[in-house]
């Protein structure tokens, strides 16, 4: 039976996946544009450029993970949703917010950092290790938001 709670849970899942994947899309796009710029002059750097471009893609994976978990736990994925109250639905929705919002902005900004790292890789490939550390720093907060979403969701009694 589709309750108001299920609808709100649905919205939560969509928010987690939609926002986090959008952030990743923007980030990967920015890093990809920088990568194409480098590859125009030096196609042999494809491996390194692809590696750096992939970094902002992880936020989308985190969002997808939380979104799918919500869909599984609520039975939506199996086609037989469990009855969820409006309160429970709201709790699920709010548990999806961290990974959605943080995923969006961290994906975007990690893309910018990755683009800068790609610039460094083009000019001075020896310094790429340090640049990767900088790019990874942005990832930290995406991981925190994933953790927050999972812990919040885990605390909901269904």
């Amino acid at each position: 039976m589709i309750t108001q709670g299920i609808v709100i849970a649905f919205l939560g899942s969509a928010t987690a996946i939609g926002l986090a994947c959008s952030g990743s899309g923007i980030g990967v796009g920015i890093a990809g544009a920088a990568g194409i710029g480098v590859l125009t002059e030096e196609p042999e750097k494809f491996g390194l450029v692809l590696f750096l471009q992939a970094f902002p893609g992880t936020q989308g994976i985190y969002g997808l993970l939380v979104g799918f978990w919500v869909l599984m736990k609520t039975g939506i994925l199996g086609g037989s949703p469990i009855p969820i109250t409006l309160d429970q639905g709201m709790q699920i929705f709010f548990s999806c917010i961290p990974v959605g919002i943080v995923g969006f902005f961290s994906g975007w900004y990690q893309g910018k950092t990755a683009a800068a790292a790609i610039g460094l890789a083009a000019r001075n490939p020896e310094g790429i290790g340090k640049a990767i550390v900088m790019v990874t720093m942005v990832e930290t907060y995406a991981v925190f938001s994933l953790l927050a979403s999972l812990l919040l969701f885990n605390g909901i009694t269904l």
């Binding site: 923007i26 920015i30 890093a31 544009a33 910018k112 460094l120």
Partner: protein
Amino acid sequence: MFKYFTADTNNQEEYAFAVGRIRNLEKGLLNKDILDRMIKSSDIASALKILMESDLNDYSFDLNNPLDFEDSLNQELLHAYDIIKNISKVSTFNFLYFTFASKYDFHNIKILIKSKYLEQEFSDKLVSPIGTIDVEKLNLAIKEEKYEDIPDSFEFLIKKTCSEYNKLKDPEIIDFVLDKERYIMLFNKIKEVEIIEAEELFLKRFIKINIDLNNIINCIRAKIRGEKKSFTKEFLIPEGDFKAENIVEIYDSPLSSWFEKLIYTDYKDIIELGVNYFQKNNSLMELEKLSDNFILNFLKIGKYITFGIEPLAGFVTAKENDIKNIRIIISGKLNNLSPDKIKERVRDTYV
């Protein structure tokens, strides 16, 4: 909010692509070590050979005829300008390209107008293919007054320059008028470009530095030649940070004391060192070198920016600077100058 957001992300991708490409090309710029090796090399051919060792740039010289080095330098510069021209269709990039490439249009116009009035046929070697307008179209406009193929703004300035020349019949007027009109044109054009505030500030600052240095050097030259204050004032370029009135105020005081009156400006050292050198050696070489270095150092900010036009401006200036340094070294060797004398003339490097 949404409009701002989409515009911002679109431009970021344009910038990321452009800067990614520029970062690669920066590897082909000359560093101090390469210039030192060129300066210390025994002859022109071995100096040019050092440039050809790297596969990071496209310098290619006929070492059997090293004196034909100019063609390759022009090709290298043309290649850099082609990259900037085609790297993005964003209006800011187009304006940046115009800012740099129009310098060559104005150079070509100067050559063509002078050849018209001095009744000398211009040599192809004197005009540059880099400008935004084809040289043949400019030639047609200047020689036969057929302005259909050139922009209205250029038609206006050609007519104005010709009429100013006809008043005084002094070829130097052509340079003064065109230098002034170029910066006025850039300031008018920047108002038409859709540009974010940070970039507008950077571009305006860049243009203003060029205006200030141009005004200072022209004033010092005019003072040395003994021109009247009123004559100099007329051809000072407006819009600079360093107001034309400030220069006019100090014009009658001795050249050696100018820097004291400009102690609070960014150009104090340039004037002090440049004038000192002039008084000892009767040459403005140091002043011109310090002025070039000032502009290059201002543009070095481009090395640290990923999303902006600064790296492009830095790259083009660095490429022009490299080519100028190569010319200085080669002409130094042609004139049998010692390595120390050549080194004294060489500009700073971008990388």
